[in-house]
Symmetry: C2
Subunit: 191 residues, 2 copies
């Protein structure tokens, strides 16, 4: 990431990266499928955490709650890496190729969660919809968390967006003001 940020993603050759790591280009490609993959090294552990969280949710939890709880639990681990996350995200959003890979990772995350829900007895298409909704919330909450001037917790944004998406799909929340028996007020932000 140091190199990518120094001279930009496309200006950085795989040879550069390998050299910096004290390796050969050939060896780099034995560890990473391609040049982009380096930035997504931590994806698997995160997926395991999320899946475990969903799998171990209380039996009576609704699918969406199982997903929400798991996301909230995982969110804590992000707090200490806010600066890192922000730099990484800036890099990703600045390059279409990296965005593509990010979306692919999120999609496979969603698929894994859906599979777990199915294992819990949730039928299709509810399982996939709950998982995908979770991914949507996660993605947006992540952005909100990164640029929240008030530095509220990641988990806070996740919860708020689950509330909001519930309202949205219910056909409410058309207008900014909307007093609801919600634990927290719904937040607004600029684009």
């Amino acid at each position: 990431m140091a190199l990518y940020r120094e001279r930009g993603f496309e200006k950085t050759t795989v040879e550069d990266i390998a050299a910096r790591a004290g390796l050969t280009e050939r060896t780099f490609f034995r560890y990473f499928a391609d040049k982009r993959e380096v930035l997504f090294w931590g994806a698997k552990p995160l997926q395991d955490l999320l899946v475990d969280g969903v799998a171990s949710a209380p039996a009576k939890a609704t699918p969406i709650d199982a997903v929400a709880q798991s996301l909230v639990a995982v969110a804590a681990g992000f707090e200490e890496r806010r600066d890192f996350s922000r730099q990484r995200q800036a890099l990703i959003t600045a390059h279409a190729e990296l965005m593509e890979r990010e979306l692919a990772k999120l999609a496979s995350l969603g698929a894994a969660i859906a599979a777990t829900l199915r294992r819990r007895g949730v039928p299709e298409p509810a399982a996939t919809l709950a998982a995908e909704t979770g991914i949507t919330v996660f993605k947006l909450a992540f952005e909100h968390w990164l640029r929240d001037a008030k530095r509220r917790a990641f988990a806070h944004h996740i919860r708020a967006l689950f509330e909001e998406i519930r309202a949205v799909t219910a056909g409410k929340a058309t207008r900014p003001a909307r007093p609801r028996p919600a634990p927290r007020a719904t937040r607004r932000r600029r684009t």
Copy 2:
């Protein structure tokens, strides 16, 4: 697509494609940013249709309904291309690189819809959530439509999944049976 299906995506060189089209490789790259982009030629018109649909929804429609209506309207245009769509989709799902591009296209579709909703006065994060939910439903409904043995209309699947996602986010539909004060019975389907 003919070439890709004949000899596979990676076995097909850009030179092959250009030759088949009676062009030079160089010219190919003047029309398409890269090798994958050929398969997504029709994306822009679709986006315009969807955006127009959302923009011209009745002023009193909720965001999610504006999106749903637009998707349903657009769905009609797909009916006559079911076989083509199926072949294309088989190709895409078989190649991770193409899936990535597909996801990216859907994401930009979502962004365009969100922007349109904002122009209609829908605040964030409701606009983005409604748009993303629409994309989720669209994607899944598309799959269902393609493999529906009963050959029900694309629009049918879209409507059904909007119903279902409403139930899911509301915390219903955990179990096949779930007697709750729900307006409609929850729909089920196989994977």
